[in-house]
Amino acid sequence: MGEVDVLQLATAVAVVLLAIAWYLSYAAARLDRLHAKVEGAMAALDGQLIRRAETALELAMSDELDPSSALIVADAATSALERHTVSLTGADPLDGVTFAGREVVESDLTEAIVAAVTPEVRTAIGEADGPGWDALERLDAAVVRVQMARRFHNDAVRDVRRVRNKLVVRVFRLAGHAAMPAAVEFVDDVPGVTS
């Protein structure tokens, strides 16, 4: 083996190492971007959930529902407003937020809306054409947006989970300490509004 061969070999090894390092960096950056997308989608979902609870409360207060329906909706909306997403650690936003068990309260709110705002109630509010109609329209818009936001969030989660399941990502721990994001599942279907 001459000296030239050693040099060539060393160069080849260096090139391969650099390529591997570049790929790892690239994969880490991509994963980072995907995590950020999940965070953004979760924040958007959070915002829409708050809006939905607020508009539901508004409808409950509008005097257009019968007192017992209004109480049911107001109760579910207030419980939903008391809960919010929790950052696991304050320092690094990429460390992830959890939905903090809100699934149940949000499902409850959906069910309260479905139970209280029946097609008949809808027609009655439409005919009264008072402030309740305005609140109902905004509630409908929020209901649709919650469903969209949840779907887009879960889609983003799916992307992260797929990349994080790759062997390279697991072996080199490219995800760092970031928590594995999870899909958010709750009942968000309001017949007649979302379908």
Binding site: W22, S25, Y26, A29, R30, D32, R33, L34, A36, K37, E39, G40, A41, A43, A44, G47, Q48, P93, L94, A141, V144, R145, Q147, M148, A149, R151, F152, N154, D155, A156, R158, D159, R162, P191
Partner: protein, 402 residues
């Protein structure tokens, strides 16, 4: 309302008619009328003066065989360059790409985009592309830029789930409900209690549109309503189908051939019943919505797509697919009951509003807003992009993407 800069990319040539092109055109014009700034990028002949002012051509489209059919698509480095420049100069708040896995302008835009939130709409229900499967891993990183996916039907959504392993929110195609609701009655198509009219619309020589089923049902209908007339509208040649009929039955069939948009609206507005005897292959059923909007009582095959359009409780009467006896029974019953016809038509007209462009565009705007707020609410990117190493990574990344 905040005025948005919206960039829409359509993969198919804008100088030939097609479902995706119409959708993009109507959507763009709707948002422009609402005060937004919209620019549409699509293939077209550069020197075509008929193109709308909000349009940017990405170059001439070439007819090419892809995925089993010939489509007019555009590709190549010049196009890629133009797409990149269009995004750079557009200053868009949101980019809306249609059919982002069709090898044309949309896939290039997806490749080129860096900062803007991306919304994608999937139209086709049958992406059975082997190429897509092979290239999927390569497309992955750019598909990950999509923040929100829209499918125009449940079938299109199923395709997204199966082939891209992702989910989509269903927002149907828009219909200009007012155009059909405000149509005027036309004497030629209007029936009387003794001679009620029923209408068929669609390509007459396309078996899956089901004209044959309706023609088999017609003799049974005539036993109960001997004066009934069947009006057949739509392009194609159905002379052999009609020639097969008993001459006494054929006398009750009027073949109108292809009709203009305004005649179509007048026809649907005037007839006593609209029949949709389709056998399958419909992912949405826009003609059903048009009939509902025009106030025609609907009798439709119980295809999943049609059931979804009719809603729950259904705003039309359904019959088992290709069962001509059941169809004849439904028609006979409804022709004898004007009160039920009126009730169905009123409910259907109300239901059709869901598919109006007004409502459809509002939902699409909601998707834009969610995609933009998702992008805004993202935690800041890590500062590594500012170091030398970070720049190397970033340039590597943009190399791969550009």
């Amino acid at each position: 309302m905040k005025r948005l800069r919206i960039g829409i990319v359509c993969p198919y040539s804008f100088d030939v008619p097609g479902g995706v092109q119409f959708h993009v055109r109507d959507l763009a014009e709707h948002f422009i009328a609402a005060g937004h700034g919209v620019n549409v990028l699509a293939p077209a002949d550069d020197d075509d003066d008929a193109l709308p002012p909000y349009f940017t051509s990405v170059g001439r489209a070439v007819p090419i065989r892809y995925n089993g059919s010939v489509a007019r698509l555009t590709f190549g480095p010049v196009t890629a360059n133009r797409v990149g420049k269009w995004i750079e100069r557009g200053g868009f708040d949101v980019l809306h790409l249609h059919e982002p896995v069709t090898p044309s302008a949309s896939v290039m835009a997806l490749w080129a985009v860096t900062d803007q939130p991306v919304v994608a709409t999937f139209h086709t229900a049958t992406v059975r592309s082997r190429a897509l499967h092979t290239f999927h891993p390569m497309l992955r990183p750019s598909l990950e830029k999509i923040r929100a996916r829209i499918a125009v039907s449940e079938d299109a959504r199923a395709t997204v789930r199966r082939h891209l392993r992702a989910d989509a929110y269903v927002i149907p195609n828009g219909v200009h409900v007012a155009k059909f609701a405000d149509a005027s009655r036309d004497e030629r198509f209007t029936g009387t209690p003794a001679t009620p009219t029923i209408a068929f619309l669609g390509r007459v020589d396309e078996p899956r549109k089901g004209l044959a089923v309706l023609l088999r049902a017609l003799p049974l209908v005539l036993r109960r309503h001997p004066g009934a007339r069947l009006l057949v509208a739509g392009p194609g040649d159905c002379s052999d189908l009609v020639d097969d009929l008993d001459p006494d039955v054929a006398a009750h069939v009027t073949v109108l051939g292809g009709v203009s948009e305004s005649d179509k609206a007048a026809l649907l507005h005037s007839v006593d019943l609209y029949i949709a005897p389709h056998l399958g292959g419909e992912s949405f059923g826009i003609v059903l919505v048009e009939a509902m909007a025009a106030g025609a009582p609907v009798v439709a095959a119980d295809l999943p797509a049609f059931l979804r359009v009719l809603g729950d409780p259904p705003t039309g009467v359904t019959f088992p697919v290709s069962d001509h006896e059941a169809l004849a029974e439904r028609i006979g019953h409804l022709l004898a009951d004007p009160q039920q016809r009126r009730a169905l038509a009123a409910a259907a007209q109300e239901r059709a509003l869901r598919f109006d462009w007004e409502s459809v565009a509002e939902r699409i705007m909601a998707v834009y807003e969610l995609a933009m707020s998702g992008a805004e609410l993202e935690p800041d990117r890590l500062p590594q992009a500012e170091t030398l190493w970070g720049r190397l990574v970033r340039s590597g990344r943009s190399l791969e993407e550009s």
